[in-house]
């Protein structure tokens, strides 16, 4: 009714504006035709009434002129000129192709009411023939091969405009995919990383500069300037690649834009922006030649560099949502679970719990009202880790697709992505992805017409590490304090809102479409016996190549650190690698041949964790590392249970004493005893694993603890209380650099004369030690 009322009002207004004289009839009809693309019957009746013209006369005029139509027409009117000039330039062939493309004959309208195909006897653009006109816009010099490109422009515009346009079947998704694929630019392009790391080093400015350069060079049509998700090699940012050759430029700034655009257009390479091999000094052109990338298996991260995370079409074009289609239309829930089980997928959040077992328990659980939840844990709180940020930010649809598949397997109707508030780009990208997927019918009610409904919301954290723990996370989504509760009754049975709830980490969800698409056998061929697939690590700390690395399970720590990471920089000696974040442990050099595998890392007293891998060199003090993690955990403990709140505090106090040289061997024993009780009795995973950094450093670096206690010595020179700085008079050349840099003016001395440090003023910041070029500053 609303539409009819609108129509009547529109006609009254039109008649009023034009006047009711009979001479205005065609003018009025043209306006109605323009507004509605046809002349509805009620419209003609109303016009006759208002203009006081017999209805049959109005009807006669309306049916006489070809510009008017009494049948509803499509949103876009495609008109092919059949004038003589066009005719001799094969307008017939053009019409046949458009007809074939749209699947309708001239005079018909497509079933989705988007296009009406018409012919006209001449549009008077004879010099440009053959001509087709779409909505009044002339496309001259047409031939059959150009039809698809013109039509897709309108189809895409329509797809973007219509939020109510839904894909209602797998076939519709396939058609949409074909359309998107054929419309994608295939010409040369510059693809710029837009992850948080590269944005921090100026990727946004660079993007604007590149677009500007391309425009000034008159290349805006041919040269695509695109954005991608995080590439992982963040320390080299901003990073961009030039397709199709995959030329890899690093540390590119806005000032380089003109040169990059010019070289790309000319098919040349900008040598100075290439990556230089750390060992050979050779400039490497392509991404796959760079050692950091060469040994990786970027099963998940590989998509990041191909996709614009803000553009769902990229994901669709790359085959996105095909795993979901398979799961929804060709698989029973049991089949999905069985595939995931056979693939050997284990939780990437840290514990490595078999994903299928979790799903089965939740599937079998009874819900009082049938509601079950599927959650994504994107509360990546480990200091020094950013795998989940990169995935969720760089490829949010992949995570959503995994969640939909999981929801179908479990029988869940609702879900949440719980994401750190400290990751604004991830929040923005996943929110946008959800809205877009929902608007297209890939999420929400009756997904793709399958009858299966599942919707996802975004819930933001508020800065609490403990909210990565499942029960705390659920409490937080419920709007309560992020305080864990006992899990003797699993969250799979009673979780969010006391309903069966399945929680998996971002990386786990991202693996699910890969398992379903490629099949469990292919997936399980990667990895070790009990740890399948790949794992993404955030390789950071004292290492030459910092960034995200994705490797097959089973690769040794040594390969990751030395072959991919390029080893420890500045000629320093490797000391330990910390995995598993605050819940993990420190692994010494003689265990570097341990493969990354859930069980093997646990065997050596650490854990896989969510993927933090922090490399430490001889300048790292292991007592200080243990103390650092404890301080972090004391800050992040919710304070509910006694062992975690009180126990961690006393562990830290003991470590404080040891780092000041005031500890005793008895205290060291007490520290171990307390650590074991804290891990034995704490309520949640945070407290249960909190002692790991302490226990593993005591286990592997006992001599360092003893040195602190017995000799009051910190060999790494980190523990301030145990270190003094002095200048060796014989070596000092009096360059004054240290004196100028000292923030407390503790260093004095004349130019070219040996300098001295006044210990009473020295704050032991170590700047003098770092800046001295003649190694005259001693740390003892």
């Amino acid at each position: 009714m609303a539409k009819a009322e609108g129509l009547m009002e529109f006609i009254s207004e039109t008649v009023e504006e034009n006047g009711a004289e009979r001479s205005r009839l065609t003018a009025v009809l043209h306006e109605v035709q323009k507004r509605y693309n046809y002349l509805p019957e009620q419209a003609l009746r109303r016009v006759a009434e208002l203009m006081d013209i017999p209805l049959i006369d109005v009807y006669g005029v309306a049916t006489f002129f070809t510009s008017f139509s009494l049948e509803p027409k499509g949103v876009h009117i495609v008109t092919v000129c059949m004038g003589t000039a066009c005719h001799v330039r094969n307008s017939e062939g053009l019409l046949t192709e458009i007809s074939r493309y749209l699947g309708i004959k001239a005079g018909e309208t497509t079933a989705d009411m988007l296009f009406t195909l018409e012919t006209v006897n001449c549009v008077g653009a004879c010099a440009m023939g053959p001509v087709m006109v779409v909505d009044g816009k002339y496309h001259g010099g047409m031939n059959a091969s150009m039809v698809a490109k013109v039509m897709q422009k309108y189809e895409r515009a329509e797809a973007e405009k219509r939020t109510d346009w839904k894909l209602t079947s797998p076939a519709a998704l396939d058609d949409y995919r074909k359309m998107v694929v054929s419309a994608r630019p295939t010409s040369t392009g510059i693809f710029l990383c837009s992850g948080t790391g590269c944005c921090a080093t100026g990727s946004d400015d660079l993007y604007e500069a590149l677009v500007g350069s391309a425009r000034r060079a008159g290349l805006d049509g041919e040269l695509t300037i695109g954005r991608t998700g995080c590439r992982g090699f963040c320390e080299r940012g901003p990073i961009l690649t030039v397709k199709p050759d995959n030329t890899f430029y690093q540390k590119v700034s806005a000032e380089d834009a003109d040169e990059v655009v010019r070289a790309t257009a000319a098919g040349e390479i900008v040598d100075r922006l290439l990556y230089v091999d750390q060992v050979t000094g050779e400039r490497l052109t392509r991404q796959e030649e760079i050692p950091f990338y060469a040994k990786q298996n970027r099963l998940l991260l590989g998509a990041n560099e191909e996709l614009d995370p803000a553009d769902m079409e990229c994901y669709i074009a790359a085959g996105g949502y095909s795993a979901m289609t398979k799961a929804l239309f060709e698989m029973e829930p049991e089949d999905i679970i069985s595939e995931v089980e056979k693939a050997g997928l284990r939780g990437r959040g840290g514990g490595g719990f078999p994903t299928a077992r979790k799903w089965i328990e939740c599937r079998r659980a009874n819900s009082p009202d049938g509601v079950k939840y599927v959650l994504c844990n994107a509360d990546e709180g480990d200091p020094g880790a950013f795998m989940d940020r990169s995935l969720l930010e760089g490829n949010p649809h992949c995570v959503l697709e995994g969640m939909i598949i999981g929801a179908k397997a479990i029988g869940a109707s609702n879900g949440y992505v719980y994401v750190r508030n400290e990751y604004p780009l991830a929040v923005a990208n996943v929110t946008k992805a959800i809205e877009k997927a929902r608007s297209m019918g890939l999420l929400g009610e009756d997904i793709l017409g399958s009858g299966f409904s599942f919707d996802v919301g975004v819930s933001r954290g508020g800065g609490a590490f403990v909210c990565g723990e499942s029960t705390a996370l659920m409490a937080s989504i419920e709007g309560r304090v992020g305080e864990p509760r006992e899990k003797y009754i699993h969250t799979a049975i009673k979780g969010l809102n006391v309903r069966p709830t399945n929680l998996n980490n971002v990386e786990t969800w991202a693996n699910v479409p890969i398992v379903i698409n490629g099949g469990s056998e292919k997936y399980a061929s990667i990895g070790t016996e009990n740890s399948k697939g790949t794992k993404i690590f955030s390789l950071v700390g004292k290492i030459s190549n910092t960034g995200l690395v994705e490797v097959p399970m089973g690769m040794t720590l040594r390969e990751i650190i030395f072959d991919i990471g390029g080893g420890v920089p500045n000629g320093k000696a490797f000391k330990a690698v910390q995995t598993g974040g605050p819940s993990g442990g420190c692994i010494p050099e003689d265990l570097l041949d341990t493969p990354v595998d859930f069980d093997r890392l646990t065997d050596v007293g650490s854990m896989m964790g969510s993927g933090g891998m922090i490399v430490m060199d001889e300048d790292t003090c292991m007592v200080d590392v243990a103390r650092y993690f404890l301080e972090f955990l004391c800050d992040e403990s919710c304070g509910k249970c006694t062992p975690c709140r009180e126990g961690l505090k006393h562990m830290m106090l003991i470590l404080d004493d040891i780092s000041k040289g005031e500890g005793s061997l008895k205290q060291l024993e007490l520290l171990e005893e307390l650590a074991e009780v804290v891990s034995d009795t704490s309520l949640c995973g945070l407290g249960q694993t909190a002692p790991n950094p302490v226990l593993s450093t005591i286990r592997y670096f006992n001599d360092e603890y003893r040195e602190h206690i017995e000799q009051g010595k910190c060999r790494a020179g980190v523990c301030k209380s145990l270190v003094t700085y002095a200048i060796d008079e014989a070596t000092c050349n009096g360059c004054t650099l240290c004196a100028r840099r000292c923030p407390t003016s503790a260093i004095t001395g004349e130019k070219k004369e040996p300098h001295k440090i006044d210990i009473s003023l020295c704050e032991k910041c170590g700047i003098c030690y770092e800046v001295c070029e003649s190694d005259a500053v001693r740390r003892v």
């Binding site: 304090v481 004391c634 509910k640 249970c641 062992p643 006393h650 307390l674 009780v677 009795t681």
Partner: protein, 207 residues
Amino acid sequence: MVELVIDGQKVRVEEGTTLLEAARDYGIDIPTLCHVDGLSEYSACRLCVVEIFRGDRSRLAASCSFPVQDGIEVRTNSERVKRARKMIIELMLASTPNSRTVQCLASEYGVTEIRFKGEDRRCLLCGLCVRVCEEQMSGGAIGFARRGIDREVTMPFHKTPEACRECGACMYICPVCELPCTGVLEPGELCNRCVDELRLEAFPSRG
């Protein structure tokens, strides 16, 4: 009905019973602090941990909230339990030495020294007052604020809210506000007076 073994004794109880309830039904004592019958489970003090054996693996769990399971074997006084319990009491003593409840627990369970740096806090953060206020008095006047070491029981903005009817239930149930332990003079001190001076017979559970 669920069948399990607690301290060598065969136990048959209804499904949904907690280990603590099952043990107490059969006359087996497990110490508790944050648990009080009639209030919701909080599982925070960890004093009631017991060792649960399944096959050749065992773990500690809070008996106040662990629901009984068929076929498990539970030990309420194993070496591992005793070590954990004593350590927890020691931690409580270090922070809140003036709680008579905690000092008595120390005597009862054989804590003979405090090896940690002492404080003189007046709250164990057991949450009894918060729960009694909300659940028994329909008050909801007090609650927890902040987190970690800074966690505290408080009122909104430290001002008595309208919801408080000054019924005193919070003070009645508090294990610290009660008559302080008279044996302790200095923070960090261990009382053990009941054991040493009053020559009470050693408690059966002293290990």
